[in-house]
Structures are given as structure tokens and as C-alpha cells.
Symmetry: none
């Protein structure tokens, strides 16, 4: 028995006037998603709890069976893990953006949070940042790693650090670069914020005068003359799924964050060729990759990102198209698995990203599952609306993994 | 106002091919269960939480309104209470089996976990075991009590004992007798495991050379030359229902474990004549006994065991028949109570025991209730599938008792 767990990011939505009062899921042509609903059981799910808009990291932790209120320790460590950067317990990691800053009397204004997004000089700039030596804390070392485009990760290593510090990233273009502040009264948080602020200033100084940025300006590109830091995080203390349930599990995902959460809970990481995590993603390749690795796994987790992008972009038509790509994934999977005897498939979302809101909201997400012995219900179409009357009722994100492990026979009886 | 609470053990199941894709509940002829569904309200219930396969003890604790994650302290004390053995707070009790052991170079192999099941010598053998005096802990006393067939209970009394020790019972025929190990690092657990191992060895020595076993062998019966111990437990610290809600409550059950949990929460114990807990149980006698004691109780709990047996035996046809016996109980009860003015009836299960799995699983169980003022829903047939759309939605086991006590007017307003 094996499980395919598909999370379509930001899949949930609201009724949309330009779709005739339907949600994108209702408007899309989804014969394969509907087939699973018809033969299986549906429900709705509050990833965290009703009305709480989940972050992508906390949502996935919950879906993997962990209570994020107990174990969540920031985003940064997941970003690092997802980029393949090995971080140690206690290391504090930050998601970093190369950005374009503009000096003002009152400080540094963030002109472009992504420095134009195209950044072939990223690796070389990172190398220059790494030559700096910290002055405020001699026992702490840092490493800056560039990944793709404007993205990178900063990792602090040393004694007495904390992830309880605020971002330097104002999260809005046209705002001032922020000072990092301790988020609690601990000595560790104070020390870490001081280091972050030292690095934030030093990085600007190093980058602003760099010849590579002069070249960018002369080419008409915005200079990458600063680094925005956000999402301080340390590795969460969780018992990985491999150990907790004695299963082998893998992940097929493109974006670093999801890969990182999957790695933190013990999954092996795979990337489907052509999976860009964007609208142009090769969805058939995602399905093929999942089917290819299924034989050596008890659980394969597929992350499908573009539905969320369309929500954030406020684009219902594109969301419909991305849902049809998701349906195509399901179609390919159904051709390669045996839901009567051998495989379970479960499809849900990490959160709702309504096109009308362009941000995560707290509404429940739809959920469908099928496989040997799954009790059927009367639902024959997969949508936020249909699933409200499903046989699973209203679940929480953290229920999913116990339910799946129970079907696999990996759950332990509580009591005797 | 009075409540009849019926728990049909292991009632929940999955769609079964040989029943035409129906569950045993769907396949069975159940006019009386369906009647209650029709006039009352249905739902599904996770006894513990979604996907968690409950033990029988934790499941019943939850249905009686206690959080087993907070109060569960092992099975043994319930077994002892259920056999009518008076145990004190701090006493550690074990479920015990007389068994047939075979000496091997590497230890003792368990040849028959029940020593042939028929054991008329049980009381006399128990008496011989009780003459042994412990060497490793002079301040601890033990008592071995034989109940029926191969079954018994071992009770340890004395200071500094713990229930956090592992079983000597390997739970599989053909495996070696196990050493009991402390399950935490406490001195109490170490001491208790040492005592258990001393007794395990001593019991074998005493029984192996006993003339009663030589007689068994000469008759062709397997010798009862060892004792398997499992499910160490102490009395849980719970406020009994009698005190918590000021009600009088009683239990009609055959098997020791259920009687024990009922006793631990303050129920008086009754046994229906002819209730064997097996396929041949006299179900009409169960209904008659419940109706007979109903006048002097606010709550009567009926435990119906054979549905679970059929699940463990993997026998859908017998499960259907046992469900029809359960329906017969409901029919008799309905003739003796007044659901319009005076009585509430609630029927559910402690867990799902699918015939295809032969073990407890974590799927929710169906639930129906009827009585004065219970809001009706649209469900007219009682099954796992129909109840998914019931008006009660998806509840937890520990919700049942507050709901019932509220109907009885025994619930206190929280706040003002």
C-alpha cells in the first residue's frame, strides 16, 4: 500500500463574479479530480484551525502531521534546506533578496525588492559578501548563499543565537529598509538582531560600491546594492516521518520552501524536469516523476505551485487553467496506479488564496481521497462547495497524516 | 429522563466486495437501528481523533467522557476490576494468560498462548503460584487470580511500583517469552520490571513440574506451564460519573475489560444471563437486563461484543448476523422505553474493526441518537456511509457524555 499526497498550493478560492459566481475549481474542466471525488470520499479541511490564514510553511507542517503551534520555528531554515544548504541545529537562517536601495536622509529606501529579478552576478556578489568579518560578535560566523534570480539565504552559526528577530525587509516597495528588532526579551534575540543590523549595513556598503553594480547601472539594470532579510528560522525539533511511522517518503517539488519542509520531516527530495513552479510548468513531468519514484516509497508528496501564483496575481482565468493542469496531473497518476488494491491518492491544498484577496485567507480547503476500503460518499465533483457536504466532514490539516498512516497499517493502536 | 448508551464493539467497517460493495451495517437487515436513525439524529465519531486506531480501553474511557491522553494508565487495572478483583491505588495489575511454553537453548518458546484454552485446573494452579514469595523486593506482595479458561490477572502491591513496563507476552505463537523492560528511566519502572521477570521465571518453574500439568499431558492437553503477562496498568485517577454529574449509572457487559472501565468510572456492574460476549450470546437477555435495571439508573451502558469478534475473525457474513442481533436488542429496548417523553437512546461503536483488516483501525464510527427534543436530520438508515451526512456532523468520543448529560439536565452552565 502506498500513498500519493498532492497539495495544490492556494487552490481554495471564493465564488467569483466573472466566473459566473463559481469558484475557479467549479469553473474548471476537471474530469479526473471529479472521478476521484466520485469513487472516493471528500471533505473540507482547516489546515491550522477555522479562520486562521496559514503560511505555506505552517500549512505543510500541519499536513505532514505536526502541530505548527508546537514546533514551528520560523521559515528560514526551510528555505535553506530547500536550497540544499546544510544547516545545523541552532543555526539561524534567513530568506534573503538582493534588492535595489536608494539612500535618503532618513535611511535606505527599498526601490525594488528584487533588484530587477534577473541577477547573473548573484554568485559573485555573494562571494564578496562572504569576505566580510563580523565585528559585534566574534563567536558567530555567517554564510550568504545565492540560489536563483534575486534569491538567497543567510545563515548565522554560533552560540547564543535566536530566531526571534524581526525582518529588515519592509515587504513593500517604496518603504524604508527596516532595523531588525528582538521579538522577545532574551539576550539571544538582542545579540542576533544586532548581528543582522550590522550585516544589513555592511552588505549595502559592500554592494553599493561594487564594479558589478556599476556595470548593471550602465546596462540599465537596477543595482543589487542591498540585501533584504526575512523569516528568521531554526530547524524545528520534529521526529521525522521516516522514524515516526517507519515509512520511506519523498517529495516532488520545485520551490525551496516546500522542499525544505519536506526535507525537515524526513523526505527525500526530487525535482521533476521542467517543473518551474510557474504557469509554464511541465505538469506531465511532475506526474511522471512521482510515478517513477513511487515503487521505492510508501508516501510520495507532490507540490503543485501555480494555482497559488494565480491567486496572488488575482487572475481567475489563469487559476482555472492551472487547475486544469492539476487535473492533467491527476489523470496521468490515475493511469499509473491501482486505487482498488494498492494505492491511495489524496488531493488537497495548503490554504485558500482567493483571486479577490490576492493573499492567503483562513477558509477551509477542499479535500478528496480514494483507495482500497475508503468509504464512499455522494460527492461527484471536486470543489470547495461540493466538498462541504462530503463524507469526511471538516478535518484539520494535522489529521491527514494519521488517516493515511492508518490506511497503510502504520498507525499504532492507542491503548489496548 | 434516562439514557441508554449502547456500544457495539468494532461495529464500524469498510465497503466489502463480497457484500456487494456495502459495509456489514449496510448489508444487514436493521429495521430498528434504522428507525432510531429516522426519528433521531446521526453522525460520525472519532473516538480518539481522526486516523487514530483506538484500543478498547481508551475508546471506552473517551466515550465515558474522559480524555485518554490525560488519564490512561494501562489496561491491567481494568481487567482486574472487571473480574471483580479489588485493587488499590498504586497496585499494578497485568492481564495474564496461562500458556504452553517449550524450553529452547535461547529461552522459552511460546507454543500455545492459551494452553489449549480449556483449563479446569486454573484455580488450583493459581493457588500454587500464590505460595511463592518474592526475592527481589521484600516490600512487594503479589496475587494471581484465575478467572475463566486460560485467563487471569496478576496484581502487585507495595511501594514504588510503576505500570511503565513492557509485556512478557510476545503476542504471537512461536515467538520467545519476552523479558519485561522498564518503559521509562524511573527507579519504579526498573523495580517493577525486575519483579515481573522474577515472577515470570518462577511461575514457569512452579508450573512446569506440577502434577496437574503431568495429568494434562497424559490426557493429551497442552500443559499450562507458563504465564504470559501483558497490559500493566494502575487505576486511573478519574472523578467517577456518579460524582462528576451526580448520576447513578450501570453497565451490562460480559467481558472483563469493559466491565472494568465501567467500574473505574463509577458504574455498577451487571451481567445478562446468557451474555457470552461471543456469537452465541443471548441478545434478548441483554436488552431485558438493561430494561430491568433502567428504573434505578440515570444511565445504562450496554456493551455488545460479537460485532468486534466478527471483524477480528475477518468474517463479513457473521458480522452481518451479529448486527442483526444488535438490531434485535434495539427492537426490544424500543418496546420498553418512551423516546418521546422519557428516554434517550444512543448507539455507537468504540472503533472500526474492518473484516478486511481484522484489527482496530482509525476510521470514524457511526452514531445515532434519539429522545425528547433531539433535533432530527434527514438520515433514515444507520450505516457508516449514511451517518456521514448526519446532523451531528463529525464528533469526538469525549463529546458523547457531555451531550447526554446536557439532555438529562445534569450539565452545568460554563460561565453565567
Amino acid at each position: 500500500m502506498k500513498v500519493l499526497l498532492i497539495v495544490s498550493d492556494g487552490l481554495g478560492d471564493r465564488p467569483i463574479r466573472e466566473l459566473g459566481g463559481r469558484t475557479p475549481l467549479q469553473a474548471a474542466n476537471t474530469p479526473n479530480l471529479d472521478h476521484v471525488a466520485k469513487i472516493g470520499c471528500c471533505g473540507i479541511m482547516d489546515t491550522i484551525s477555522p479562520g486562521i490564514p496559514p503560511g505555506s510553511d505552517t500549512a505543510h507542517l500541519a499536513i505532514f502531521g505536526y502541530d505548527p503551534y508546537e514546533c514551528y520555528t520560523g521559515r528560514g531554515a526551510f528555505e535553506a534546506l530547500g536550497m540544499g544548504i546544510n544547516i545545523k541545529p541552532g543555526d539561524v537562517a534567513f530568506r534573503a533578496n538582493f534588492a535595489t536601495l536608494e539612500a535618503r536622509e532618513s535611511g535606505l529606501l527599498v526601490r525594488d525588492r528584487r533588484a530587477g529579478r534577473r541577477l547573473p552576478e548573484g554568485d559573485r556578489l555573494a562571494e564578496k559578501l562572504n569576505q566580510y568579518r563580523l565585528k559585534t560578535a566574534k563567536d558567530v560566523e555567517f554564510r550568504f548563499e545565492h540560489s536563483v534570480e534575486h534569491r538567497g539565504v543567510l545563515v548565522l552559526s554560533g552560540p547564543g543565537l535566536s530566531y526571534r528577530v524581526s525582518d529588515t525587509d519592509p515587504h513593500e516597495t517604496g518603504e524604508m529598509l527596516r532595523e531588525s528588532k528582538p521579538l522577545d526579551s532574551s539576550e539571544e534575540a538582542r545579540k542576533t538582531a544586532k548581528i543582522v543590523n550590522e550585516l544589513s549595513a555592511a552588505f549595502h556598503q559592500i554592494l553599493d560600491g561594487d564594479p558589478l553594480n556599476r556595470e548593471r547601472i550602465s546596462r540599465g539594470d537596477p543595482p543589487a546594492n542591498g540585501v533584504l532579510l526575512r523569516g528568521a528560522g531554526i530547524l524545528p525539533e520534529v521526529t521525522p516521518l521516516t522514524e515516526r511511522y517507519g515509512i520511506s517518503c519523498s517529495c516532488v517539488a520545485a520551490a525551496a520552501l516546500y522542499r525544505g519542509v519536506a526535507a525537515a520531516v524526513g523526505m527525500k527530495l526530487y525535482r521533476a524536469p521542467g517543473d518551474t513552479g510557474s504557469y509554464d510548468t511541465d505538469e506531465e513531468s511532475i506526474a511522471e516523476t512521482a510515478l517513477r519514484i513511487l515503487p521505492e516509497n510508501d508516501l510520495v508528496f507532490i507540490h503543485f505551485k501555480p494555482t497559488d501564483n494565480a491567486g496572488h496575481d488575482g487572475d481567475p482565468e489563469t487559476k482555472v487553467k492551472m487547475i486544469e493542469k492539476l487535473d492533467n496531473i491527476m489523470g496521468k497518476l490515475l493511469n499509473g496506479i491501482d486505487l482498488e488494491n494498492e494505492h491511495y491518492v489524496i488531493l488537497t491544498a495548503d490554504h485558500t488564496t482567493p483571486c479577490a484577496v490576492r493573499e492567503h485567507t483562513g477558509e477551509p480547503v477542499p479535500l478528496e481521497m480514494a483507495g482500497p476500503g475508503v468509504r464512499p460518499d455522494k460527492i461527484a465533483a471536486f470543489s470547495e462547495i461540493d466538498c462541504q457536504n462530503g463524507g469526511l466532514g471538516r478535518l484539520r490539516g494535522k489529521d491527514i497524516m494519521p488517516i493515511m498512516m492508518d490506511y497503510l497499517g502504520k498507525a499504532k493502536i492507542f491503548g489496548s
